[in-house]
């Protein structure tokens, strides 16, 4: 594909969610195939195998070829899978299930900037579709494409597309997800993925690749408030370097900063970025180290903030919680709160309302427990002060996961400070 030079291209992280049988792997395989991002020899071999077996080429299986390439190319980051358009490189974040997705998104291990929600046009919307849509809402995903897949199975009928689209939009409206595009596709046949479908001349909108290309990569929001959760503190060459990722805003040499929760103030003496000397300013998304003018008592979990726009610090906050574990959570059961790099013991001290995450039906008030896949309006009470923001102000420090032992059991967003 023609377009920008490789060196000028930006990366965008995307995630594909939806019911497990609605064609996620096939869509991924098709995206890679249509953008020429697959190892050519392997495709030819697979094509010939399919021909000899009298089967069509199974795009869902192409991912296996990619995995093998990645396994063999040890220098490549094995967690990232790229496909390219003329405009940019896309990284598909692997989200085999909603637990992994929530955990990765909330802990910042892999923050998707756009999402594709896939629905089987033949089978229609399933509970899992709604749950995944709810997770997109929970995580504040703004750039969303809904694809109605397997249009070939419904004879490419516009009526069926409009019917499922209306039903999907009705649900998405309720959870405040506004998809920018809704596209009828057949991942298996390649309709409306990279090329406009000849079987659906009634559809005048963008293809999946055109829609993705119209999205924006996450901007360096220098104007928003600084939040840099501390990952670790290193002593290198006589310097004490505070390492972390700028999650929001920017940080500059000479700037006055505040360390929370203890409230110490200091100024930034230097910014260290690996192999980049002389950096004076760093932005959201960059992993950096800073040195300060005063010696500080600082540790993993502290948050570096701007002095003039402080986050909340407190033991209690209100949240919307998506419970994922098979075992329900009971009031005051011991859990761990993980918010950015903070990990603190906590309990769910109140469950004010509980909802079915698929139907959004109110299931009860002042409940004693929250069951698997239910959403609750809850109060979290932590053992020590937590540094946090309202999710609507700064999502990066307004979302969290709860863990029980080694398992991630819930994901949530903070809606208000205090109980």
């Amino acid at each position: 594909m023609k377009g920008k030079k490789e060196s000028e291209k930006e990366n965008m992280k995307i995630v594909i969610v939806g019911h497990v049988d609605h064609g996620k792997s096939t869509l991924i395989g098709r995206l890679f195939f249509d953008t020429g991002s697959l190892p050519q020899g392997k495709i030819e071999e697979l094509k010939k195998t399919c021909e000899a077996m009298g089967r069509p080429l199974e795009f869902g299986f192409l991912m296996d070829s990619l995995e093998e390439e990645r396994d063999q190319a040890i220098t490549i980051d094995t967690t990232q899978t790229f496909f390219k358009t003329g405009k940019r490189n896309y990284v598909i974040i692997d989200a085999p299930g909603h637990k992994e997705f929530i955990k990765n998104m909330v802990t910042g291990a892999s923050l998707a900037e756009a999402a594709i929600l896939i629905v089987d046009a033949n089978e229609g919307i399933q509970e899992q579709t709604k749950r995944h849509a709810y997770i997109l809402s929970l995580l504040g995903m703004k750039q969303v494409i809904v694809v109605l897949n397997k249009m070939d199975l419904v004879e490419y009928k516009q009526g069926r597309f409009e019917q499922v689209k209306e039903e999907m939009h009705k649900f998405l409206d309720k959870i405040k997800v506004k998809p920018e595009f809704t596209i009828p596709i057949s991942a298996r046949e390649g309709d409306n993925i990279a090329k406009r479908s000849k079987s659906m001349p009634w559809f005048k909108g963008k293809t999946v690749l055109e829609s993705l290309d119209s999205f924006q990569v996450k901007k360096r929001e220098a104007s928003s408030a600084l939040r840099m959760p501390v990952q670790d503190v290193y002593h290198i060459g006589g310097k004490r370097i505070v390492a972390g990722r700028v999650e929001s805003g920017s940080i500059s040499v000479g700037e006055k900063i505040l360390l929370l929760p203890n409230g110490t103030e200091t100024t930034v003496k230097g910014i260290e970025i690996f192999l980049k000397p002389g950096v004076k300013q760093a932005f959201a998304g960059q992993s950096i180290g800073i040195t300060t003018n005063d010696p500080l008592f600082i540790d993993r979990g502290n948050v570096v903030c701007s002095e003039n726009s402080k986050p909340s610090v407190g033991n209690e906050f209100q949240a919307n919680l998506f419970w994922m574990a098979k075992q329900p959570v009971k009031l005051n059961e011991r859990l761990s709160l993980r918010l950015a790099t903070q990990r603190i013991g906590c309990v769910v001290s109140s469950i004010r309302k509980r909802y079915n995450s698929s139907s959004l039906e109110l299931l009860g008030e002042n409940a004693e427990q929250l069951n698997e896949t239910e959403v609750g309006e809850v109060v979290i009470k932590a053992d020590k002060p937590v540094v946090f923001d309202d999710f609507n102000d700064i999502p990066e420090t307004g979302r969290f996961v709860l863990e029980k032992g080694l398992d991630t059991v819930a994901g949530g967003i903070i809606t208000a400070c205090g109980a």
């Binding site: 010939k48 195998t49 296996d64």
Partner: protein, 236 residues
Amino acid sequence: MAIIIGIDALDPEYAQAFNCKNLMQAHFGKTDISGFSEPRTVVLWSSFLAGKNLEKEILALGDREMWNFSLKPEQTFLAKFPKRIVVDVPGFAYSKEQHLLERSQLKKFFSKEISVEEFDRPILEYHRGIKQRFLQDLEKDFDLLFYYFNAADVIGHVSFGNKAKMRLIYNDLDELAGRAAAKQHKMLILSDHGMKAVGNFGDHASGYGFWSTSFEAGLHRPKITSLRSFIEKEML
């Protein structure tokens, strides 16, 4: 009415990794073939049919002749099924011609006379043909339908490390098992041994094979030789 699908080298790990629900059926697990010095196809299928370890007897025939080894129905559980259809099963009704072709193909491939695609083509075409026959026979009146498929083994020897291709083969076998399951007869799916990747190639895995049943069978890790009495008791 009962169905046995014999699949050479169907590996339990791949069956699970590729989510082959029809191959795994309601209950599945590994068989025990630790009583055999090596996982040899004719030895294992013959021992399964006879319900006893025939390794010594068959190995005495030599490498070439062992493929001519053939049991009589009365030496096996097949005698209990008078209206049986048994196709291609080593040790009973194996297509010698096809086996010779496969050996010749392997020889040509490893001496670099043919490409992997040239190697695969006749194997997959044969598989396609026998699958078609199986689907036709499925509609017939029988008390036992027993078919053997070896594409997972022969293709696996050259391409077991090629997951995309192996997923295709497993998926095809899974579809076939799904068609058979729809008949709602008692069904046993069995492999003689597993397979392990050696680079892109594959070699027989020792110690275990694969079993699955459509019904609660109480099987845990059965010896392949114990399945004769199981079939006679549970599938007649």
